[in-house]
């Protein structure tokens, strides 16, 4: 069984061929499989917040959409972005786009990312937004999040939540002041102005999501 698993892993893991796009191998069987692309409809969720209450995206009747951020306690990049995420919530909640943060990491693998530590962190940093436990990384997996922080900007449409932007918050993880490309904010401003988002996906280095080994 172990050998079989190993063979499966080695065969299934190659992501992509080369930069010219000659892809070899198959998509990995685990972790990175599916996920959303811009324009897709995202599944709503109801998850446990740090205050113990369930938070459901369906209960934000005034919201025009959501800034869904997969993040966690331990990842230095997540920590580096905390203040910027708080600021984004402050600015955009009143404009109809509140932040919803989700921690998908398995505390068995990364003990700092336990629910108790989420509560502590949210209190310490006075999070103004829900910080939800995505147990087993179920929604991270559905959305296709691979790392923290990983942002999905959703817009409410008649037929559901439309994915407007996927990726990074800005182009300088170390310092928001030095970031000269505010990818997420640009997308938000375009959405609010009733325009189409011009840059729909960006990439950044991040901590891989610690999915439960089940």
């Amino acid at each position: 069984m172990k050998t079989l698993l190993l063979i499966l892993l080695v065969v299934a893991v190659p992501l992509i061929g080369n930069a010219q796009g000659m892809s070899i191998g198959e998509k990995p069987a685990v972790q990175l499989a599916s996920g959303y692309a811009p324009g897709d409809r995202a599944e709503s969720f109801s998850l446990k917040n740090v205050d113990g209450a369930q938070v459901s995206l369906d209960n934000f009747s005034d919201a025009k959409g959501f800034i869904v951020v997969f993040t966690c306690n331990h990842c230095p990049f997540s920590v580096a972005y905390e203040d910027r995420i708080i600021q984004l919530d402050k600015t955009y909640k009143s404009l109809g786009y509140p932040v919803i943060a989700l921690n998908p990491n398995d505390p068995q693998i990364q003990p700092e990312d336990s629910y108790d530590n989420m509560k502590k962190r949210a209190k310490q940093k006075k999070f103004s937004f829900p910080y939800l436990l995505d147990e087993g990384g179920v929604y991270a997996h559905k959305y296709g999040a691979t790392k923290t922080p990983h942002v999905y900007l959703l817009q409410k449409k008649a037929d559901g939540l439309s994915v407007a932007y996927i990726g990074a918050i800005d182009n300088n993880s170390k310092s928001g002041a030095e970031a000269d490309q505010k990818y997420l904010e640009n997308a938000l401003k375009e959405l609010i102005a009733g325009k189409e988002v011009s840059v729909k996906t960006t990439k950044a280095i991040g901590c891989s999501i610690k999915y439960s080994k089940s």
Partner: protein, 162 residues
Amino acid sequence: MKIKKVIIACGIIVLSLLKLSGQTQAIKFVDAEKYWKTPKDTVLVINFWATWCKPCIEELPCFEKINSRFPNKKIKVILVSQDYASDMDTRVNPFLKKKGIMSEVWLMNEKDPNTWIDRVSPGWSGAIPATLIVLPNGSYEGLYETSFTCEELYLLLEPLVK
């Protein structure tokens, strides 16, 4: 004559100690890419990691052992740190020294990963650890956005280093 030999021996020891100390080289993406894509007679195993990345650190020993696992084979490991350039002397180099890392270590001296991640592989989300394997002709064999056990890594490399 004897003194000369002693001096040479000391020199060698000092040099090998210098190598042991794990000095990181900051590099721009264009220069890294140019080197990777230049045909050479060697398979390159390029591991993207950072001192703050727990699964990265866990798999580093597997990369360190590649050369002893494939003796007399043309294979080279480059560990490309995603730490900040400002942490190079205070964090990265002390870490390498402490862990006794002997592989070549580069630090990606770029601020916006969005400008270069796709050039490594459009299939890479930017999560680390990730490993790029380059064939001797300079073409990319694949980008693996995953953690490896030593066994998995060596199984993958085995057919490439004939």
